[in-house]
């Protein structure tokens, strides 16, 4: 729609902030979001608006149901244009979600986007003080007062522009890594693909057929491997590991060590890093369902290996020299674990999540056993059958129709795998016993020759990389995205993207989709000449710096703050210098500088002081100021 496009252009003829007469009062607009009801159900937003309107230089204060929606943003843009606002406060949800949204709205009004303050009155007021509406309302007012105070001390800032190396590093040569690499290469972007093992394809090399297409996993691996091997934009380093990462978006320095002898550590520069480090299969603890105690108890990967190594023509399924007549499949081994029911592993962390792929994998194998070896009885022990994906429910119904017998247990009462009493050993050396909820809680015992543990997925072992790259992991140990819907493949470090099961359990199509999603973010980033970063970085006031280097020793971010030699009044002295690409604006340096010679743009000490003054000031229009700390 053309009218939207017109709104994109800032109104150039409007006087910009810095053209304002120095002594003219500010014109501040405050926008308070109901957030549907998330805020307004607790905070009296109308009262907040009326109150903050009385704060110095606030010329308008409005309430909106969804400030982030287009009409909400439009209100702000229009007010800037029509009421000549030169500062804006939005009090809504966390800035994590929508700070960028409102900066955009402010820009469209022709205002420098950093003349804007975001106040979080959802997480910090309405949600935190759900049962104290009065306290939450007062808190919201005070927080807005702090922002208004700060706005009296801000100047326009410009985003930091840094050169963008149009080259991506893909860590991991499984299907996610290969997919991401081949997509980017096809888009004309150079890719460095690093794989730690000797073969491409990762875990999928150990699979038979993939569901739901029932085509050979090898086909999929080979097709992707062919693409990455033949594409001129892709450089592959096999048997190699990333050993060090530094730098920032558009400009990461990585060190890669290749296992083969004589090859020195490679150091190279990339603009983005795609983490496709995959998962590792859950390995049961010794004795868990008699695993490693009885040879008849195997994990799913081991069983897949058995099926693949059994010739198509074989009439019987044998394992350890024994003919298998009955098989039990156990779901949720190492997944959906419950506190107090399951033995925690040595690291103490239970796998409470669902591994997403085990149900269909089990049913696929159960079906294959019934088809290839019709005399083998197949027994399936589940909690919930989770054949959620396209075509997956068919496996469940086909397995039922092929004569697989199902048993359902409560998570609190997992089945027991035991050695069969000697008297019944001829029916099977092992037995699986459970209280079957489908059989009105009756205790059932199924004699079998083999128990296949439906093992799930565990986070890959990449602790070093996580440490190196300062990545966050979730409670489940997998790499954590910023937000599952808003920024699903990004992490808190800009320029690092997630592809596939490094992020959590996924099946093959989901892995390929996630890899594509990661690639598209990299492609979009590389569409720009420069990388733009927030200007919230430290800045040294050379007139005050005396070169004591306290700040440098305090800085946690390698390379962000360095002492450099420079000429000052004819003498060569050491002074602190900030690398804007590496500085995260944490402020550790600010705290230690004895001369107040270093400060963080956008979060300067005088701005903090103004915020504190704003919080502490009397609430306008209120005779008796409520207690300052009304927070539980």
């Amino acid at each position: 729609m053309s009218e939207h496009n017109q709104q994109v252009q800032p109104q150039k003829n409007k006087p910009m902030q810095n053209e304002r007469a120095a002594d003219a009062p500010l014109r501040i607009g405050v926008y308070i979001c109901r957030c549907g009801g998330n805020i307004s159900d607790v905070v009296d937003v109308d009262r907040v608006a009326e109150t903050v309107k009385l704060l110095p230089d606030v010329v308008t204060a409005k309430v909106h149901t969804f400030a982030c929606s287009d009409p909400g943003q439009q209100t702000i843009t229009n007010d800037i244009l029509e009421q000549n606002l030169d500062r804006v406060v939005v009090a809504s949800c966390t800035p994590f979600l929508h700070e960028q949204t409102f900066r955009g709205a402010v820009s469209r009004g022709g205002l420098n986007p950093y003349l804007y303050e975001h106040v979080n009155i959802r997480e910090q007021a309405s949600w935190a003080h759900k049962h104290d509406p009065e306290g939450a309302t007062i808190k919201a007012i005070r927080m807005i007062a702090a922002a208004v105070g700060k706005l009296h001390h801000v100047e326009p800032l410009e985003q930091i522009k840094l050169p963008n190396h149009r080259r991506a590093l893909v860590v991991g040569g499984g299907i996610a890594g290969m997919k991401a690499a081949s997509e980017l290469a096809g888009r004309g972007i150079k890719v460095l693909l690093v794989e730690s093992s000797q073969r491409l394809g990762g875990q999928l090399n150990d699979r038979g057929r993939v569901y739901p297409t029932e085509r050979d996993a090898k086909e999929l691996v080979e097709e992707l491997a062919r693409r990455v091997r033949t594409h001129s934009n892709i450089e592959i380093l096999m048997q190699s590991n990333v050993t060090a990462v530094s730098g920032f978006i558009g400009n990461f320095k990585v060190a890669i060590r290749t296992e083969a002898a004589g090859i020195p550590v490679t150091e190279t520069t990339v603009g983005a890093i795609i983490m496709a480090t995959g998962f590792r299969p859950y390995v049961p603890q010794d004795g868990e369902f008699l695993y490693r105690t009885e040879p008849g108890v195997v994990t799913m990967p081991e069983f897949l290996q058995l099926l693949r190594s059994t010739p198509d023509a074989a009439r019987k399924l044998t394992w350890n020299g024994r003919v298998i007549r009955n098989i039990a499949f156990l779901h949720c081994v190492g997944s959906r674990q419950l506190d107090g029911v399951h033995e925690p592993p040595p690291n103490g962390r239970l796998n409470t999540y669902c591994s997403r792929t085990c149900c269909t994998t089990i049913l696929q194998q159960a079906l294959e056993v019934r088809h290839r070896f019709p005399s083998v009885g197949v027994f399936d022990f589940y909690r919930d059958i989770r054949t959620y994906g396209r075509g997956e429910e068919n496996y469940y119904s086909a397995a039922s129709r092929a004569g697989v017998t199902f048993f359902r247990y409560n998570g609190e009462e997992p089945p027991r795998v035991e050695l069969t009493p000697r008297a019944r050993a001829k029916e099977g050396v092992l037995s699986v016993t459970l209280n079957d909820t489908l059989t009105w809680g009756t205790e059932l015992s199924v004699p079998v020759d083999m128990v296949v543990l439906g093992t799930g997925m565990m986070p890959g072992e990449i602790a070093d990389l996580i440490e190196q790259m300062k990545l966050a992991t979730g409670e489940d140990g997998f790499l954590q995205e910023v937000h599952p819907k808003l920024r699903p493949v990004e992490v808190s470090v800009n320029g690092i993207l997630l592809a596939g099961t490094a992020q959590g359990p996924m099946n093959i199509q989901e892995t390929l989709a996630a890899a594509g999603a990661a690639a598209v973010k990299a492609a979009a980033m590389f569409a720009r000449e420069d990388v733009e970063l927030n200007p919230y970085v430290a800045e040294v006031d050379l007139s005050r710096c005396c070169g004591e280097a306290l700040c440098v020793t305090q800085c946690d971010y390698e390379g962000a703050l360095q002492m450099v030699s420079m000429e000052v009044e004819g003498a060569t002295v050491e002074r602190a210098q900030v690398n804007a690409g590496l500085c995260v604006g944490c402020g550790a340096c600010v705290a230690v500088c004895p001369n107040r010679a270093i400060d963080v743009n956008g979060w300067r000490l005088d701005q903090f002081e103004a915020m504190v003054d704003g919080i502490a000031a009397a609430i306008p229009g209120q005779e008796c100021t409520p207690e300052l700390v009304n927070i539980h």
Partner: protein, 391 residues
Amino acid sequence: MTHVVDRSLLRKIKRHGAGSKLDVDACFQCGNCTAVCPLAEDSGGFPRRLIRMAQLGMEKELLASEDIWRCYACGECTQTCPRQADPAEFMAATRSYAISRYDFTGLAALANRSVLGNLAVFALFSIVFGLLLASAQAPVSPQAPLFDFIPGWWIHAIGVALFVVVGISAALGMFAMFARFVMGQRRKGVPLRLGALPGAIASAVTDALMHRRFQRCDSGQATPPPPVEPWYLRAWVVHAAVMGGFLTMLLATTLDFLFKPIGSPVPPWYPMRILGLVGGLTCLYGLAIIFLRRIRAAQPPWRKSAFSDWFFPSLLAATVLTGLATEVSVYAPLGSVGHGIFFTHVVLAMDLVAMLPLTKFAHVLYRTLALTLFAWRHAPAREHVTVDAQI
């Protein structure tokens, strides 16, 4: 005591189903069938619970359950089954399987498992009765009265003997079921009061005769909006017509046997004759509707038909039709054709009786017994039944 799973029972039961079409393996134990059933009560046993027993090989429990007989095959479960596992047909197959297991001669198993077996048993009985009847046949002219063609006393003698044998066989089968039931209840620790048995029998027999339970299947409570059929087409009415007609004919025959000298000529308006005629026509009406439904196969339970579903009504229809033809030939002598019809009728009637404990027809006995047992099991708890189940 843990139960050891055995998959073979389901395979055996499936052989009693409508050909290879019984897809009960597909059942994923959702319980829809039980909850949709207008007759399921208390334990919620059927059909899901019975399918589960079959899946796991719990034969003892399955045969001790009276639940299979409380189903009137309305087909609601099959129509709504999310896996299209056909629970109604499973129930029918299980009834057939149970008849075979209760019968000690093995003939039921032979008759119920295959078309050939069914025909073989039928042929066997027909030959035996045909030879027996023929053995006493006097050489008479085509105009001779029917009971000179085959002596009435001989028919009666065979008939009485047949009834005794069948009676014993049926009694043994019913006892087999009864004993399993009692043992099953004892295993579960459910107390049974002997004093409550007569009351239970009385209520069960009235239930059966009045089709009280069957009527619930037709109540329209099940599938909305009920395309309410006219009363004369409702399943329970049709079933009552067949049953009632048959019982009426049986009554007429018995009364004849008791009060009318053999072969004595009676006018067409003789009360027993009229009773027999009314019974026969009623029965035929019911059978005609059943045949039509099976041919149209529009919806469960008519969609799939096992051979036994055709066989028993066919035998009954043939018996009634030859009976009516015999009636005609009494008043309008048809010569040797009439003799032939009469001979066939007697053989078919004897087949019918002989196959009573072996075929679908046995449900007359087993269902009544099942209703009795159900009423008996529930007798002590009667006072509490009225509690509303709503939560």
